[in-house]
């Protein structure tokens, strides 16, 4: 009862079978040709990373807003909000071309820059100068002046950026959005 090889071949190699196979494979190839570049395009941000660079830091608020932060323009022990240019901003990025950080001067030429993002869910933390704490407006996480989480749901200290002083200018090392994975 079983089909002989010849019968099977004859059955599979009909005109209809060939044309059907042709249609499907043609469609699959066309899909791949268009699909691969599209997937690459969508995943572009993961593949093409702008380089990490040192950026000058400016004051984000107060009377000196917009002025560059020099090594001696913040008293030792004080924390100020600063702004710096995001990595490779696009010409139409508008306000999002800048990033914020809290810059604390810890010594004559030593600084710590804390990311503005709360380590709980990323809301921007406020610094209260008098009690020297960072307070998150979303769920009330509290960090002390050293960025250590001391209250609320935040699971870890504030993220920090690398800082250096070059020709008197304070510079920050740009970094992707710090996340807890």
């Amino acid at each position: 009862m079983s089909m002989t090889m010849q019968e099977l071949t004859r059955k599979l190699l009909t005109r209809e079978a060939f044309l059907g196979l042709f249609t499907l494979s043609f469609g699959a190839v066309a899909g791949l040709v268009v699909g691969i570049p599209i997937i690459g395009y969508v995943l572009g941000p993961l593949i093409e990373q702008p380089p990490e660079i040192w950026e000058k830091v400016t004051f984000a608020g107060g009377p000196n807003r917009g002025r560059p932060v020099m090594a001696d323009s913040i008293p030792i022990g004080q924390t100020e909000e600063v702004a710096f240019q995001a990595r490779g901003p696009l010409p139409w990025a508008g306000t999002t071309a800048t990033q914020g950080a809290w810059l604390r001067r810890t010594g004559p030429s030593s600084f710590i820059a804390y990311a503005i993002y709360c380590t709980h869910l990323g809301c921007p933390v406020h610094f209260l100068p008098q009690p020297k704490i960072f307070l998150c407006p979303c769920h009330g996480s509290v960090f002390n002046a050293e960025g250590i989480n001391i209250g609320g749901p935040a699971p870890r200290p504030l993220f920090t950026y690398n800082i250096r002083v070059q020709n008197g200018h304070v510079q920050i090392r740009t970094h992707p959005l710090p996340v807890i994975t």
């Binding site: 702008p50 406020h126 704490i133 407006p137 209250g151 749901p153 996340v179 994975t181």
Partner: protein
């Protein structure tokens, strides 16, 4: 009737078969009116011969529905009305909206404040979004309670579940297009949450922001998702959803004690249609039209009287912000604030995943009782989900866990009535409650935050030593002030707090402290 006869291939339509109104044309009046009538008939026949509109009419408007279809069936079409509202107003908002981070906010501000009827169009889009979220949940609930997702409508439910997911994506991406502080920080918070996904978290986060940080690429991607990708998907899914309404028919109102048996259901359903069915038009469409009109009237009324959501401050990564999602996501914001922080890593990813998975897998239980009176668990699930969501939305707006900032930046001050009759030390202490940030979390006489205990009458509740201990050592969510506060400052704050007694409090408070 044979199996599937509800969508049997129709013959090429003729006037007499399809339009009873024209059939009466046999008695067409003579004279000019009759000539006009004959022209009309000829035109119809011309079009029907080329477009098959009679066939479409018989398959849709004339398709039979059970006579037991009642007012609980109107929410699907009302959701569709809301979707149509969104498509139309969305198209016209796109006439003026600039999807670029340096102008999005300004263009929306122009639409809202300057453009003729701009605020109404934006208002309809805003309230229409709320209406659609609300209606799609009611639609789902109604068909969950009546077991309409069971055989043979499992894939109808599945397409609806995906449409529900799409609707929430639209709601989230839509609020982002305002490109205000809430929008900017919603992207950041969304990325931070997505980053908790195991293994691929940081990639997902960077895909959401379309770059290392929120920037020039972020808004355009969300714009394309909101304007093209998801609506296109929704058009397809709605097409499938409506096709299935016709192909598998509208479910009959369930009868307790008559469980669904795939072996007999379809035959029985055909019998119901045959014995107790009526055409969808006009019996079904009249209810749908009324509900659609009601939903539309409410949406347009709110758009004209209340208007669209306030724009707030422009997106700015360095300005202070106090971000809040819109109501349809604020319940999740509240939930994340209320669960123990240790469980968050699992919860943030697993809760939405499981919720959606349960919706997708529900039609696997496609047999048995449909009527809610025989499915007490279904009623319990609905009551629990609805009251939990309602409570969380309300709680999200209260957000007692959030510190209070005036204009997103200033710590509240002790109110004047709580500073009467104080000596110099106590006054200095009252001022310190502002500068030390205490009032962000603590309330005195109705002013301040609710995260920590109310201090209006704390002097009657805690002794000086107990107060000292709490301030210096901290605890629970209270930071310790031991390292930053001088003895003088501590004494001033203690002096003020001790003056806050049950007698001094304007609004007497029971000590709600720990």
């Amino acid at each position: 009737m044979s199996k599937g006869s509800i969508a049997e291939p129709p013959e090429r339509g003729t006037v007499q078969e399809t339009r009873p109104a024209i059939q009466r044309g046999n008695a067409a009046p003579s004279g000019p009116l009759g000539t006009l009538f004959n022209w009309g008939t000829a035109t119809y026949n011309f079009l029907d011969g080329r477009l098959g509109i009679g066939m479409i009419y018989r398959a849709t408007a004339a398709h039979p529905i059970p006579r037991s279809v009642n007012w609980w069936y109107v929410f699907g079409s009302a959701t569709l009305f809301a979707f149509t509202f969104q498509v139309v107003t969305g198209i016209f908002l796109a006439f003026a909206y600039v999807p670029s981070p340096d102008h999005a906010y300004q263009s929306l501000s122009w639409i809202t404040h300057k453009e003729l009827f701009g605020n109404v169009i934006r208002g309809i889009h805003y309230w229409g979004a709320s209406a659609m979220v609300l209606l799609i949940f009611i639609h789902m609930t109604a068909h969950y309670l009546t077991g309409s997702y069971k055989y043979p409508r499992e894939l109808q439910w599945l397409s609806g579940a995906i449409l529900l997911f799409c609707t929430l994506v639209m709601a989230f991406t839509g609020q982002l297009l305002r490109w205000n502080q809430d929008a900017y920080w919603a992207v950041v918070v969304g990325a931070e949450q997505a980053a908790r996904t195991p293994f691929i978290g940081s990639w997902v986060a960077q895909l959401l922001t379309a770059g290392p940080v929120v920037g020039g690429n972020t808004l355009t991607r969300f714009y394309a998702i909101h304007m093209l990708l998801v609506p296109g998907l929704m058009f397809g899914l709605i097409g499938m959803h409506l096709y299935l309404v016709i192909y598998k028919g509208i479910s009959e109102w369930p009868v307790p004690g008559e469980p669904v048996d795939p072996a007999t259901y379809w035959e029985n359903y055909q019998r119901i249609l045959h014995e107790d069915g009526e055409p969808f038009f006009p019996a079904g469409t009249a209810k749908d039209a009324f509900m659609g009109f009601l939903a539309g009237a409410v949406v347009v009324g709110l758009a004209i009287t209340v208007g669209a959501a306030a724009l707030g401050a422009q997106a700015n990564p360095i300005a202070p912000a106090n971000p809040r999602p819109d109501w349809y996501l604020i319940w999740y914001f509240a939930l994340l604030a209320l669960i123990p922080p240790a469980s968050e890593n699992f919860f943030i990813i697993l809760f939405p995943l499981f919720g959606f998975l349960i919706l997708l897998l529900m039609p696997l239980a496609n047999k048995g009782e449909r009527h809610y009176s025989r499915r007490p668990w279904a009623i319990a699930v609905v009551i629990f989900a609805a009251s939990a969501t309602g409570l969380l939305v309300w709680y999200g707006y209260q957000s007692p866990w959030s510190p209070v900032f005036i204009n997103d930046v200033t710590i509240p001050s002790v109110p004047a009535q709580a500073m009467r009759g104080l000596n110099a030390t106590q006054l200095a202490g009252a001022h310190l409650l502002h500068t030390e940030g205490c009032m962000a979390c603590h309330m005195i006489d109705g002013v301040g935050g609710q995260r920590g205990p109310n201090l209006s009458a704390i002097g009657s509740v805690l002794t000086r030593n107990e107060l000292t201990w709490r301030i210096m050592a901290g605890g629970n969510n209270m930071p310790s002030y031991g390292n930053t506060m001088t003895n003088k400052q501590l004494n001033e704050i203690l002096a003020y707090l001790q003056s806050r007694t049950a007698g001094s409090a304007v609004i007497p408070q029971s000590g709600s402290h720990q």
